[in-house]
């Protein structure tokens, strides 16, 4: 195949068109509409259209990217009434016989999209971790000794938002896409093109996000570089901070669209494309966890999008969504007032709370699944587990005001939200019951993945219990806004979602790449992560109790000891995660070749050969039992059967 046919359309042509789009959009607004002159020494130099120019540039950049990767080709041929793609066309779009270039293209094969997500989210995780290392460097000693305070605030914001965006996608992206269709006996996702579009949106969202630290430097009329608001981007401070907040808003909106596309895709696939005999109660728990997360993403993301759009409108169009004060106070800037500062808190947290459950639900499902595999026992209470997961999904929409206990907004509702937040610990507790019951009297095989399951149990337990402290209004009055909260959510998110992710990578690596990850490096990185993680955040609980606020570059010498311990442990944690990444890279190239079912699991993805053929199954299997039926005898091929009548695999 000639180079042009290989590279057009591909991510490379997309990148070229994206760059052209950015230049065209921004230059048009800056030069043609704004008439900007760039002479910084000219007192009349106007940055009046700086934000608008960037926004136009970003929009055209996104459009250029989507056109360049060929995402619009089939919608347009369909709209124009041209011939629909035939089966060979569809196979080509799915990357059949395309070699490695299919990973750098708009490819519809869910396995390719899964690998693309894995690589992209791991790169995002690495950058988020870089931010974390920079934060802990500044906090190692009192005083803003490493970076100026506004730089620190920007780093805090970027670390927080990037990690959230990473963790939203890092389970349902790689594993929801690669594994779940095979797990339920389907040939692909319900909407393969939407699938390819969702990873494309995530990539362009990250390209926009990358602009943030560079926006606003040196321009006289901008409000400074970067974004100083923290990931919560409260409208009041966001309306004042650097123009990077526009890039943040657009990047998050694009990533939210990507997440919602994936959510819709996943839910439809599970409802419509299960293999015959795969009833809802025979699906592995990973699928249920990912469904729960998808419901939350589909329903909640809109609230954040609205909040961000309002912030951009306040900044660019001088609306007053978040300003209550009338024009007299800020007369120079022409705001009309009449808005509400509480609005930004409510809009943000109405999304923000379901969001954090979105982060951990796939991990909940996964650890339950994998405990069953590594204890060779069925799940202790399949329906209990579903009750737990869905209970969390429903209740997570009813608790968001616990982030606003001290805000003065509707204080009479605090009792209700205290109750609902404490109530949400009940379904979460059910997950622990299922986990403990499955481990009990099993035959526990301590693989690295099982190690991460125990780490999850320990960490999420601590995170959940400290959450109960925060759910109590009198205690929350004292603890809100301090490092205790930061330690609590790191214990739940890192200890829950990240442990689940790292375990899942190790678990499904043989199926996704055909090789096993190295066990020795795996255990070294595992223990490094546990020691580093617990050291960092236990010390952080301590300084939080002592009274240290969040998001401060400078702090009292009272907190110096705890912060030093936390920083050193954080460096250990960072190094260990890097070791884990090294394990991934090394094993991908040089790990031992894996057999088709190295763990002896009973879920459907392990019945396919490795590498998984393009259409997954020769014949769609007919499922005759649940996913944890270890008592069934093995098939003649030695692979433990699952009551599956599988046909021969296609090459």
């Amino acid at each position: 195949m000639s180079w042009t046919r290989k590279l057009v359309p591909s991510y490379f042509s997309g990148a070229v068109l994206a760059a052209i789009g950015f230049i065209v959009g921004s230059q048009y607004v800056w030069r043609v509409i704004g008439g900007v002159n760039w002479d910084l020494n000219d007192p009349g130099a106007s940055g009046n259209f700086l934000e608008q120019g960037f926004l136009a540039g970003f929009v055209l950049m996104t459009l250029g990217w989507l056109i360049g990767i060929g995402a619009f080709k089939y919608p347009f041929t369909w709209m124009l009434g041209l011939k629909d793609p035939d089966h060979n066309e569809e196979l080509r779009l799915a990357g059949k016989d395309a070699g490695i270039i299919r990973y750098f293209r708009f490819t519809t094969d869910h396995k390719v999209v899964g690998i693309q997500y894995l690589v992209v989210t791991m790169i995002m995780l690495a950058f988020g971790g870089l931010g974390a290392m920079l934060i802990r460097t500044e906090l190692m000693f009192p005083g803003a000794w490493a970076f100026p305070k506004e730089t620190y605030n920007t780093i805090v914001t970027m670390h927080g938002m990037l990690m959230i965006l990473t963790i939203i996608s890092f389970f349902v992206g790689p594993f929801g896409n690669f594994v779940i269709p095979i797990m339920i006996g389907a040939r692909d996702m319900a909407f393969p093109r939407l699938n390819a579009l969702s990873i494309a949106f995530l990539i362009i969202a990250m390209a926009v996000y990358a602009f943030i630290p560079f926006m606003g430097i040196g321009d006289p009329l901008t409000t400074g570089a970067g974004v100083q608001t923290g990931w919560t981007v409260y409208g009041t401070l966001a309306d004042q901070t650097g123009i990077g907040v526009d890039a943040l808003a657009l990047a998050v909106i694009l990533a939210g669209v990507s997440s919602q596309m994936g959510a819709v895709n996943l839910i439809t696939t599970v409802i419509a494309m299960r293999a015959p005999g795969m009833s809802y109660t025979r699906m592995p728990m990973t699928v249920w966890g990912s469904i729960g997360a998808s419901i939350l993403s589909a329903l909640g993301t809109a609230s954040l999008t609205v909040d961000l759009v309002m912030i951009v409108m306040d900044r660019v169009f001088r609306t007053s969504f978040f300003f209550a004060a009338t024009a007299g106070d800020f007369a120079n800037n022409g705001y009309i007032g009449g808005g509400s500062a509480w609005l930004t808190q409510n809009l943000f947290w109405f999304f923000g709370h379901p969001e954090v459950y979105l982060l951990v639900l796939p991990a909940f499902g996964f650890v339950m699944d994998v405990t069953s595999v590594f204890a060779r026992k069925p799940l202790f209470g399949y329906k209990t587990a579903i009750l737990g997961l869905m209970g969390v999904v429903v209740l997570s929409f009813l608790v968001w005001m616990h982030h606003e206990f001290v805000s003065g907004f509707l204080p009479e509702l605090r009792g209700f939200y205290m109750a609902s937040t404490e109530l949400i610990s009940v379904p979460t507790g059910l997950i622990f019951l299922v986990l403990l019951g499955t481990m009990w009297r099993g035959r526990i095989w301590m693989t690295v993945t099982m190690g991460f399951v125990f780490a999850f149990t320990w960490s999420f337990l601590i995170g959940g219990i400290t959450g109960i402290y925060l759910s109590d209004v009198p205690a929350d009055v004292q603890l809100h806004g301090g490092m205790f909260v930061t330690a609590h959510f790191h214990y739940t998110i890192v200890g829950g979602a990240l442990m689940g992710f790292l375990g899942a990578v190790y678990y499904w690596f043989p199926k996704m790449t055909g090789r096993m990850m190295d066990e020795k490096i795996g255990w070294i990185s595992f223990w490094g992560i546990q020691i580093g993680f617990n050291g960092t955040f236990l010390a952080m609980f301590y300084v939080g109790l002592q009274g240290m606020p969040r998001r401060v570059a400078d702090y009292s010498p009272l907190f110096a000891g705890g912060n030093l311990v936390a920083s050193i442990s954080a460096f250990v944690l960072g190094a260990s995660v890097i070791l884990y990444f090294y394990n991934v890279i090394y094993s991908w190239k040089a790990g031992p070749i894996a057999e088709a079912n190295p763990w002896g699991a009973k879920t459907l993805e392990w019945t396919t050969p490795t590498p998984v053929p393009l259409e997954n199954f020769g014949e769609i299997p007919v499922v005759t039992s649940g996913p944890y039926n270890y008592a069934e005898p093995a098939t003649p091929s030695g692979v433990p059967a699952r009551g599956v009548e599988a046909g021969p695999a296609i090459g």
Partner: protein, 227 residues
């Protein structure tokens, strides 16, 4: 064996990247040097100049004030600024501050700051006249030392309004007034401690004027260290 070597090598490379980014952030930031005027028998005198834009961009001004000829690195020349953001003075000393303000007037959001606080006698000297409060129409900036970082240091609060150059004053071609308005005041430091000082006039940008130079370290805010 090779995989362990690769492991260590990978770790070293990534650690170097992290350290490199940290250094770059530090290097590209505007971090002013500390200004510690020498103490004499009568105490220590701290001189500050307040400019509407960087004086190094004004050739007429730097002719008469050569100490401002050099532009500082990583510096936004359009931001309004105080010349010495990082002030260090000895403990238990009488401090005399002389602030030469070249910037024009601007309104306060909170007129609490019109009255000098924490200064000897409750008065400040503005161009030779003793004032115990400033008219809201002539205020330009404020110099307010506040903020305690820990209980182990004493409370130090010095809040002084800085009078601005009237609009009718003569300026040079670039817009820098020929004569500043001089505000002088004295106070005595206590035990050692670190404090922040800032301006409270919305002389920056953004919806309330507290962004831009007001929202960036080293222009309209800084640290006041008592050693």
């Amino acid at each position: 064996m090779r995989k362990y070597l690769g492991m260590v090598g990978f770790l070293v490379v990534v650690a170097a990247i992290v350290v490199g980014v940290a250094f770059a952030l530090n290097a590209f930031a505007f971090i002013p040097a500390p200004y510690a005027p020498a103490a004499s028998s009568g105490g220590v005198t701290v001189k500050e100049d307040v400019f509407p834009f960087a004086p190094c961009t004004d050739p007429d001004f730097t002719k008469t004030h050569p100490e401002y000829a050099q532009c500082r690195p990583n510096y936004n020349s359009q931001y309004v600024l105080y010349s010495e953001p990082e002030i260090v003075v000895p403990a238990h000393t009488k401090v005399t501050m002389v602030i030469n303000n070249y910037d024009s007037t601007s309104a306060l959001v909170n007129n609490y700051f019109l009255k000098p606080q924490g200064v000897d006698g409750g008065v400040i000297n503005v161009d030779g006249q003793q004032m115990d409060t400033i008219d809201p129409t002539v205020v330009s900036h404020t110099f307010v030392i506040h903020g305690i970082v820990s209980q182990q240091q004493p409370w130090l609060y010095v809040g002084v309004p800085i009078t601005g150059v009237p609009d009718s004053a003569k300026t040079d071609d670039a817009g820098m007034p020929d004569q500043p308005v001089v505000t002088t005041f004295t106070f005595t430091t206590g035990a050692p401690g670190t404090y922040a000082w800032q301006c409270f006039v919305p002389c920056g940008v953004g919806f309330n004027g507290f962004g831009g130079p007001m929202g960036t370290d080293g222009y309209m805010n800084g640290t006041f260290t008592v050693k």
